[in-house]
């Protein structure tokens, strides 16, 4: 009886601690930011959001993240395909290198880009010689986003390609379809869910990215100031309500994306 009683108290204590931890760490902060953005009512919220610098920063972020995501779809699909389907020297090395952007601090990633393409580097001088400015301009932001989101599409399509039923592909060849035809009507549909969910994760990571971008972007308001850097600036200049208002816009967008991804995945596992 005594041990049973103690066991019950223990498990009750455990449950409450874990749930409290969850609520305090995750739920409370997110509710806090939504309430803070409206802390002074709708009008200041609307003013913060409709500040041209704010919505320009958000639009710029969405635009550049979309470009990085589209590049990622092509590069990622190709690399995912090559790494699963072909056997060649160095394959497993490249396959482990894919995760490097996840393991590397984003500030270090930003510094790398700065060192390679910055004003004093060989590549930077070459490019500015032909009139292309990279660092402190939009291309550098896209490169930074591309770097940090590089693994998403690859890692999303690799398992699909591995699981894929070879016989479908062989049947297609047997029936006389060309390589291109087989790819479009048999292989591509198998990869599509992976490409989509990988791309959406890459996009939401892209609009959230701060470290790599802050180092290379130059952060000129209205031109190369992206949303997360704008939010950081608002916090620094002691305007938490304005920072929270822009954060809410970004967060709502990211939550919508995350929710869509989990719906897609739920549908796939249900099938």
């Amino acid at each position: 009886m005594n041990t049973l009683f103690r066991g019950k108290w223990w498990s009750f204590g455990f449950r409450s601690t874990i749930m409290l931890y969850f609520v305090v760490l995750i739920v409370l902060p997110i509710l806090g930011i939504y309430s803070q953005s409206l802390s002074k009512g709708w009008l200041p919220f609307w003013e913060s959001v409709s500040d041209p610098l704010a919505w320009k920063a958000v639009l710029l972020t969405v635009k550049l993240a979309a470009i990085a995501t589209i590049l990622n779809i092509f590069i990622g699909t190709m690399i995912g395909w090559v790494l699963t389907r072909y056997r060649f020297p160095g394959r497993s090395l490249l396959n482990s290198l894919v995760d490097l952007p996840f393991a590397l601090p984003t500030a270090v990633g930003g510094l790398m880009i700065l060192l390679l393409l910055g004003p004093n580097s060989l590549a930077g001088e070459l490019l500015s010689g032909i009139g292309i400015e990279v660092v402190y301009h939009e291309p550098a932001i896209v490169i930074a986003m591309l770097f940090v989101t590089f693994p998403f599409v690859i890692r999303a399509i690799q398992p699909l390609l591995e699981e894929m039923d070879k016989s479908e592909e062989e049947a297609s060849y047997t029936m006389g379809a060309s390589h291109a035809r087989t790819f479009i009507s048999v292989i591509f549909p198998t990869m599509l869910p992976g490409i989509l969910s990988g791309a959406m994760l890459a996009f939401s990571r892209g609009i959230a990215e701060f470290g790599a971008v802050a180092l290379v972007a130059g952060n000129i308001p209205g031109k190369t100031l992206i949303a997360s850097v704008y939010i950081f600036g608002e916090i620094e200049s002691d305007n938490p309500q304005g920072a929270a208002a822009v954060s809410v816009m970004l967060l709502t967008l990211s939550f919508a994306i995350l929710w869509t991804v989990s719906l897609l995945q739920a549908r796939r596992t249900a099938k």
Partner: protein
């Protein structure tokens, strides 16, 4: 055709990953060995590396314990309804969708000096924001999903039959956990630990906002890199970055190793 694709793959890897990595390693020697040593042994560098070390250790320990427990509850607990479990399960991923800067802002808004909670802790003599506790909370927030997401699928896969059998046979719950559950989730947990270490080592945005980036007090290795770059001290930034990059490459190797073991179980 196949050769072209393989060549293109090599090209992308070289341009996007290999050359930058080499550049970090070679750039630190721009002023010779002494330049590197000088950059790393500056008092603020040593302090920043120590802060990063403390954060990594504390966050990894807490995140591992709470992550495993929460995963167990979300998969196994009967006292949570199925709907509640699904709702909580979908909330686990939320930190992935939150920009690190926003994560930091959230912590400041809740525990900042002008808030109820912040004032309460301040009264008790504990400073949270612009101090180590806030930085740890921010990093915990960011790394939260990593462990839960690694352990939950494994628990779901192995099912609860063996555990039930063990407890029917009269084993205590701790005993059941160590002898039955742990061996099967072990590699998932190790993979989660490696991911958590990597993420907490490299966390920048959230920590920058919460810490205030005060030199020799709340500066971490990544925020020091940022400050050095802002001060146009690129060689010094490179020295710290090299240390971080070396750790990351080591972690990457461990990730590969843990992933292989995880697949075999």
């Amino acid at each position: 055709m196949r050769k072209v694709w393989i060549a293109l793959t090599y090209l992308v890897f070289t341009l996007l990953l290999i050359i930058p990595l080499i550049k970090i390693f070679s750039g630190s020697w721009a002023n010779g060995w002494s330049g590197f040593v000088e950059a790393v042994t500056r008092p603020q560098s040593l302090h920043a590396l120590m802060m990063t070390g403390i954060i990594v250790i504390v966050v990894t320990a807490l995140n591992t314990i709470f992550g495993i427990m929460l995963a167990l509850y979300l998969v196994r607990a009967d006292w949570l309804g199925a709907k509640m479990k699904r709702l909580l399960g979908s909330m686990v991923d939320l930190p992935f969708a939150v920009s690190p800067v926003i994560g930091g802002l959230m912590i400041v808004l809740i525990f900042g000096p002008n808030t109820v909670l912040g004032a309460l802790f301040e009264g008790a003599g504990i400073k949270i924001v612009y101090a180590l506790p806030g930085m740890i909370i921010a990093t915990l927030f960011v790394t939260f999903p990593l462990m839960v997401r690694e352990v939950m699928p494994v628990l779901g896969e192995i099912g609860s039959q063996q555990e039930e059998a063990a407890s029917t046979l009269g084993a205590y719950s701790w005993y059941t956990f160590w002898k039955v559950t742990w061996p099967s989730i072990r590699w998932g947990v190790i993979y989660g630990v490696v991911l958590t270490v990597a993420r907490s080592l490299g966390e920048f945005g959230a920590v920058l906002v919460v810490s205030g980036n005060i030199m020799n007090k709340t500066q971490t290795a990544t925020t020091l890199v940022y400050q050095d770059v802002e001060n146009f001290n690129v060689v010094a930034a490179n020295g710290i970055a090299l240390i971080l990059a070396a750790f990351s490459v080591g972690l990457l190797l461990m990730m590969e190793w843990a992933k292989k073991r995880k697949e075999v179980h």
